[in-house]
Symmetry: C2
Subunit: 241 residues, 2 copies
């Protein structure tokens, strides 16, 4: 739905593929930075932790972009992955809550990349409001909200729902929620949850059970971080608590 890209909308990509593309992109950029010009599926696979076949299947979904016998040209690869992920499109991000986590995100050279542009920062702590972080002056959350596409929620769980409500009312279309709290949003708004403790628990499960990577296998599961929820009939409640 909504505006479609200029030409050739690729066959829709599978969820696992989508979650791997950013990883491939990072590998490709690393090689470009080191002055390389080509890469093959086996090399990408080793670095990404998946099989060469999986890499080729994923990339085939973006169109025909490799050369038989010679692998992929890094420049082409980078451009097509960027196109598929919508990296050419710029979009605004607002961050609500500038405690340690919010600061870590906006100061990270890694978080706001690939089209993401910081639109504004919000907090309700008078000690924080007015201070400058990452080149933006923190504004009070009860004031006007800047237009943006994505909102990042870095507030305590108890405040997450109220923050989400305000952001949605302000026209936000996607939320990245770092609070371990279910939030309800109207139909059409996407919510992704990120929960560090779940990562730690999964890691511990594997350590306790000797499953997963341990057996000496090279390749492993690789999934999306957090759940992806949105809306039920009236109010979305799909997510965890």
């Amino acid at each position: 739905m909504g505006a479609v890209t200029t030409r050739l909308r690729a066959r829709k990509l599978s969820e696992p593929t989508i979650s791997r593309l950013p990883i491939y992109q990072r590998i490709v950029e690393g090689w470009i930075a080191r002055g390389q010009t080509r890469i093959d599926s086996r090399q990408i696979g080793e670095l990404a932790g998946v099989t060469a076949t999986t890499v080729r299947r994923d990339l085939a979904g973006l169109g025909t972009l490799g050369t038989r016998g010679a692998g992929y040209e890094l420049g082409v690869l980078s451009a097509r992955i960027a196109e598929a992920l919508g990296h050419d499109r710029h979009y605004g991000v607002v961050v609500v809550g500038l405690g340690n986590l919010g600061r870590a995100l906006v100061n990270s050279s890694n978080f706001l990349i690939r089209g993401a542009q910081l639109s504004a920062l919000y907090d309700n702590d008078p000690h924080v409001v007015g201070s400058e972080i990452a080149g933006h002056v923190v504004e009070p959350f009860d004031g006007p909200i800047a237009a943006a596409t994505v909102g990042v929620i870095c507030v305590p769980s108890a405040a997450a729902q109220a923050v989400a409500d305000r952001l949605v009312a302000a026209g936000i279309r996607g939320l990245l929620n770092f609070a371990p709290q279910v939030i309800s949003v109207p139909l059409g708004t996407a919510v992704h949850y990120v929960d560090f403790s779940i990562e730690l628990q999964i890691l511990m499960y594997h350590l306790n059970n000797g499953t997963g990577p341990l057996g000496g296998g090279v390749l492993h599961s690789l999934g999306i971080a957090a759940s992806n929820a949105s809306s039920m009939s009236k109010n979305a409640e799909a997510s965890w608590h």
Copy 2:
């Protein structure tokens, strides 16, 4: 391999199931905290963003723990999930790098739960070493390293490999790497990667393409955050760059 739990080692759980159990656990705890005593698969499913059938399949993997016609008893559920995830076992966690991210993690009431115990904090910044954070005095990373099971890497990418090497040498068995950097570890060491920008990119893909949650569906994919790598023959290089 390694020590096996006391009795009844459940049939090994699937990767998707493992990633959902912590979410169920959080829901269960929330209901217990609100004084409830029972829950059924449909209720869990709505909150977790999965179908009731999926919930029942996942829980069936932990043994027979529900009551036909009456759902699950919250206390039993909590205990069995905890057992499956190894929450009864205490394990030490060291955090290296106490910039904003490291501080956010150790100060979060959400991160170090369920058996995880903070063993020590390390940094190499003289301004940070010696300060007290979350009840621990930050120690210099070039000094002795405490015994622990899991190491959390919150340092810049360029330092990640060196940190991993030291931690592995100190006997760490699992690493949670927040740096967007491939790290090599010896066979038998588990590495999980967490990358916020990938989350943001996946969210944007769905917003751009109208896929995922938007169509009005209630339930959606729900995966593991980050990749799970470890070791190849000589040195592990499975991961991204």
